[in-house]
C-alpha cells in the first residue's frame, strides 16, 4: 500500500511539471509511464502480510505443547507461530515440503476420484487427520544442524492453508504437490 501511495504522489508531481513548461513534457510523460508500470507490477511476496488467528499446533512444536492454540503468520522470510507460551519460527528456505489437505484431495483424480466419492460418510473423498471442517498445513523442514522436523497446524476453516503454502513457495519453500488452482477459476464458465 505504501508503494502505491508514493507512486501516485510521483505521478501528480509529473503532471504539474508537464503543465509548467513544455520542454519538461517528455520527462513528465516518462515519469507517468514509470509510475503506471510500478502501479500495475505485482508486489513482491515478502511484503504481503498473512496472519491467521485461532490456529492449533497439533504436533512438532518442540518446546510448544501439543494442541496449543495461537496465531500463525508470515514474518519476513519465515513462518511464525506464536502461542502456547512459546514461538516457533521456520525459515522458508529450510522447508523440504509444504502441503495442505487440499493437496490430498488433488492426489485422487479421474475414475478413482469418482469411485472414492461414492463411499458413504465422506470417507472416500480423501484421508485427513481430522474432521472435514478444518484445513491442515503440514511442513517438513530441517533445523540448523540439518535435523529433520515435521510440524502440523490445524486451521479453523477449509482452504485456509493454501495462501500460506502459496506464499511460502514464493519465498523458496519446496512443495512435492504443486499449488492448487483457485476454486473460483476452476468453476468459471466460459461464454
Amino acid at each position: 500500500m505504501m508503494s502505491i501511495e508514493s507512486v501516485m504522489f510521483n505521478a501528480t508531481v509529473a503532471v504539474r511539471h508537464g503543465r509548467a513548461a513544455t520542454p519538461c513534457g517528455a520527462r513528465g510523460l516518462s515519469l507517468l509511464a514509470l509510475a503506471a508500470a510500478l502501479l500495475f507490477s505485482p508486489a513482491p511476496a515478502r511484503s504481503q502480510a498473512l496472519t491467521q488467528a485461532d490456529v492449533k499446533l497439533v504436533i512438532g512444536g518442540e518446546s510448544i505443547k501439543k494442541s496449543s492454540k495461537g496465531t500463525l503468520s508470515i514474518a519476513g522470510n519465515s513462518l511464525k507461530f506464536v502461542g502456547g507460551k512459546g514461538t516457533l519460527e521456520v525459515q522458508a528456505s529450510s522447508i523440504l515440503d509444504v502441503s495442505t489437505d487440499e493437496d490430498s484431495r488433488q492426489d485422487i483424480t479421474g475414475a478413482a476420484k469418482l469411485a472414492t466419492m461414492a463411499i458413504p460418510y465422506g470417507g472416500g473423498r480423501f484421508l485427513s487427520l481430522f474432521s472435514h471442517g478444518v484445513d491442515v498445513l503440514t511442513l517438513e523442514f530441517t533445523d540448523v544442524k540439518g535435523g529433520y522436523h515435521a510440524v502440523i497446524f490445524e486451521l479453523p476453516a477449509q482452504r485456509q492453508g493454501a495462501p500460506f503454502k502459496k506464499q511460502l513457495v514464493a519465498m523458496g519453500a519446496k512443495a512435492s504437490v504443486p499449488l492448487a488452482e483457485p476454486a473460483a477459476t476452476k468453476s468459471e464458465k466460459k461464454p
Binding site: S99, Y121, K145, G146
Partner: protein, 165 residues
C-alpha cells in the same frame, strides 16, 4: 529313603531358581546396547500416505522413544552431531500397507471405518547388523481422529525398543 525324599522338593526348587536366574542373565546379556539412536523419516514407497500422517508418525515416535529413557540422545535424521557417533543405532520405517478409514463412518457405525497403518520397523547398528526387524500396525477404531492411529503406532514401536534394548 524317607530322609532323602524330604530334601527333593527344596533342592528341585533351588535348581529351578538357579536355572531361571542363569536364563535371565543370558537374555539380559544378549540385549544390544546403544547410547544414541537416529530416527529416519518413513519411506512410504508407492503407498499414498498423506504428508500429515508421515509427519505425525515421525514426531510422535521421537516423543515416545525419548520417553523410554533407553538412549542418552535421540537424534533426528540428518543431524550433523550424529554423523560420527560410534555407538549409534538407526531406526528406519518402511510402509507396508495403509487402510483409509473415516472418522465420520466410525462415529455413525462404531464398527467400521477404522484406519490402519502397517510399517516395517528396522533398527540396525553402525555395521549394518539388524537388531530389530518387525512389522507394526497402528490402528484407530470406534471413535477418535485418524491422528490416533499414528499415536498408537509410535507407542507400539516404543514398546519394542523398550524390550529390545
Amino acid at each position: 529313603m524317607k530322609r532323602h525324599t524330604r530334601y527333593v522338593v527344596p533342592v528341585a526348587f533351588l535348581a529351578y531358581l538357579l536355572m531361571a536366574g542363569s536364563l535371565l542373565g543370558q537374555s539380559s546379556a544378549a540385549k544390544p546396547s546403544a547410547s544414541s539412536i537416529e530416527i529416519k523419516p518413513m519411506d512410504s514407497g508407492e503407498l499414498p500416505i498423506p504428508p500429515a500422517f508421515r509427519a505425525a508418525i515421525y514426531e510422535n515416535l521421537i516423543v515416545e522413544i525419548k520417553k523410554t529413557g533407553k538412549f542418552e540422545q535421540v537424534y533426528r535424521s540428518g543431524d550433523k552431531d550424529a554423523a560420527n557417533l560410534p555407538n549409534l543405532v538407526t531406526l528406519r520405517m518402511v510402509a507396508q500397507s495403509f487402510k483409509k478409514g473415516s472418522q465420520k463412518k466410525r462415529e455413525v457405525t462404531t464398527v467400521s471405518g477404522s484406519t490402519s497403518i502397517s510399517l516395517k520397523v528396522q533398527i540396525s547398528d553402525r555395521a549394518g547388523k539388524m537388531l530389530v526387524d518387525q512389522d507394526v500396525v497402528g490402528k484407530v477404531r470406534f471413535f477418535g481422529e485418524n491422528l490416533r492411529a499414528t499415536y498408537d503406532f509410535s507407542k507400539k514401536v516404543a514398546k519394542i525398543v523398550q524390550t529390545a534394548f
